[in-house]
């Protein structure tokens, strides 16, 4: 069984008077331990797909299952709790709370658990070390470079040891060098720590680092290595 199972998913949005159909019967599997890049033009539904996997949004029809959990049918309250333990999400920008230090930002998901201060402390330190920012723990976001901010966000995304990591255009705002830092880190997380990673990206370099690349166009997958039958129309 795949880690993420998307089955015959339909998703529409109402924008002003128009109804926009993003997905019309999408079916897709993502295996545990995979590193998948999702590419495609804007409006193709990449971010929407990420949101569906994370339980931030619900499909109009169809099911989304992550690690056995029926994400598409859980309530908002259940989803919040589930997300805290199972999902690590990184945005393109504006990840960190400016009023908290790097350490405090990374600690956020752990506040939702029952861990003691001591345990939380340990995990935050480990997460920051993994991303190479152990010495920046007490810095505020405004004191960090763009690349460092994103790495802090990644630290936050892994600190609770989630089932899957979802990143929406993580290198979109970064320069070449910082992008490389971030992508190298992601690769490491996948190969060394066996994290399942899905990134949405425009960047071909980023896609190269991934093990699998999926292309979405108008809500349909094209070029589908390791995908189950029935998706294309």
């Amino acid at each position: 069984m795949a880690l993420v199972e998307i089955r015959d998913v339909y998703k529409s949005f109402q924008r002003e008077e128009q109804r926009i159909d993003v997905f019309t019967g999408l079916t897709l599997d993502i295996d545990a331990g995979s590193f998948t890049a999702l590419m495609g033009p804007s409006g193709s539904g990449k971010s929407t797909l990420l949101n569906l996997i994370a339980g931030l949004d619900k499909p109009t029809r169809g099911t989304v299952t992550v690690g056995g959990a029926a994400v598409s049918s859980m309530s908002a309250g259940q989803l919040a709790a589930w997300r805290a333990r199972n999902i690590g999400f990184v945005f393109q920008s504006f990840n960190l709370l400016p009023v908290l230090t790097a350490y405090q930002n990374v600690e956020l998901p752990l506040l939702l658990t029952n861990l003691s201060k001591k345990d939380r402390d340990e995990r935050v330190k480990i997460a920051l070390d993994v991303v190479g920012l152990g010495d920046r723990a007490s810095h505020y976001p405004r004191q960090l470079s763009g690349g460092q901010e994103q790495r802090t966000a990644i630290a936050r995304a892994i600190v609770a040891d989630p089932t899957v990591m979802l990143l929406d255009e993580p290198t979109g705002q970064l320069d070449g060098k910082s992008s490389q830092e971030v992508l190298t880190l992601l690769q490491r997380l996948n190969t060394e720590f066996n994290k399942t990673i899905v990134i949405v990206t425009h960047d071909a370099h980023a896609a190269e680092r991934a093990k699998t690349t999926l292309h979405l166009e108008k809500g349909d997958l094209i070029e589908k290595p390791r995908v189950m039958a029935g998706a294309v129309r």
Binding site: A80, F91, L97, L108
Partner: protein
């Protein structure tokens, strides 16, 4: 509270705004406590009054005197253990711009009937023995810089002329409603100078059993009912209470202003909260993505409002509680024993809680209901 760090960090985002808001709440609650204390203090003065003391006035009105011969007749009634009397003098001191009460009393019986008037035994003796002596409350010492043994001259208003007394004693009242800014002198001297012996402004009657107050009061009034100066007797508390009602609608006025004040700060706090909330939609979306539930975010916003409201309340109420006793405020004599009562603190705290709920509610609900996806779209 592991989330406190987050709450405090949010409050620290705009330190100026947070400080100003807390200061507004503090000011408003200080004002509220002060105003309410006027009402509670007036009510408290109506509580003063020895349960075993009655006051006998001329039934026609408090400005009319009673014959001194009544003293013995009252003393002879069953249940009466002691009688004393006093006359309002109303003298002016200096330029008359500051005012203090002054009256003529029968020294030994008056001091006996009011054990709340406390002074050293030697001063008491000196006062009793000097016919032109005066006994003053300790506040007057501070106000005018008088000293023991000094001569003080009052201008008579009702009883004309210059009246000079020698200060023989300074008293400290054990009950604030007695007033620590009063001057009393000898009735004998008063009688002698006005040349018209034998009048008392009012009588103070001590009885043996507080439960019999109404009965004894009636018996006194019965004795004089058909004479040329009928009396009206009541407990000392009733007498004090009637003074409090002379303020008319003051209580009502104070409550209304108090309400206006509370409402005004509510507006200020609510405004500040809403401004903060509006700026944070992106962050709230991120927190929800990380897994903070709607309920949790609702709570965090409410706690934020609560921290501001309760800190402000503590500062404002606390300051009021400490200020007035430390400056010995008594509203120029009209509000003796002015202080912030416990009930006022309780009401103030409740107001703070109400403030927290009212100002935090809308932003908290908004945060809880924030649709993550839409908010994120704006963010990206």
């Amino acid at each position: 509270m592991k989330y406190m760090r987050l709450v405090l960090a949010n409050l620290g985002r705009h330190k100026v705004r947070t400080i100003l808001t807390i200061a507004s709440v503090a000011l408003a609650l200080f004002l509220f406590a002060s105003l309410r204390s006027v009402t509670t203090t007036l009510a408290a003065t109506a509580q003063f009054g020895g349960a075993r003391r009655l006051v006998t006035l001329n039934a026609t009105g408090l400005v009319f005197p009673l014959p001194i011969s009544y003293a013995n007749r009252i003393k002879g009634l069953p249940g009466v253990t002691a009688v004393s009397w006093a006359n309002w003098f109303g003298g002016r001191y200096g330029d008359g711009k500051t005012f203090f009460a002054n009256f003529a009393v029968d020294p030994e019986s008056y001091l006996a009937i009011y054990p709340e008037i406390v002074l050293p035994a030697d001063q008491k003796q000196a006062f009793i023995q000097d016919r032109t002596g005066a006994l003053i409350g300790k506040r007057l010492i501070g106000r005018y810089g008088w000293k023991l043994g000094q001569n003080v001259t009052l201008q008579g208003t009702i009883f004309p002329g210059d009246w000079t007394f020698t200060i023989r004693g300074v008293y400290t009242p054990t009950d604030p409603a007695i007033g620590d800014d009063v001057l009393i002198f000898h009735h004998d001297y008063f009688d002698e100078r006005i040349g018209r012996a034998g009048i008392a402004g009012w009588y103070i009657v001590e009885i043996d059993d507080a439960a019999k107050a109404a009965v004894i009061a009636k018996s006194i009034d019965d004795v004089f009912r058909n004479s040329s100066s009928p009396t009206k007797t009541g407990t000392e508390r009733e007498f004090q209470a009637s003074f409090a009602t002379m303020w008319g609608n003051v209580s009502f006025l104070m409550s209304t202003i108090g309400l206006a004040v509370v409402f005004a700060i509510l507006l200020v706090t609510a405004n500040a909260m809403m401004m903060s909330a509006r700026e944070r939609t992106g962050e709230i979306a991120v927190l929800k993505t990380v897994g903070f539930s709607d309920k949790l975010l609702f709570g965090l916003v409410m706690i934020e409002a609560g921290v501001m409201a309760l800190t402000g309340a503590a500062l404002g109420l606390g300051f009021a509680k400490i200020l007035y006793p430390s400056i010995n405020f008594n509203g120029a004599g009209f509000l003796p024993g002015f202080k912030v009562a416990t009930s006022t603190l309780v009401v103030g705290a409740l107001i703070a809680v109400g403030l927290m709920l009212a100002s935090g509610l809308v932003p908290a609900v908004r945060a809880a209901r924030l649709p993550i996806v839409q908010a994120l779209r704006k963010v990206e």
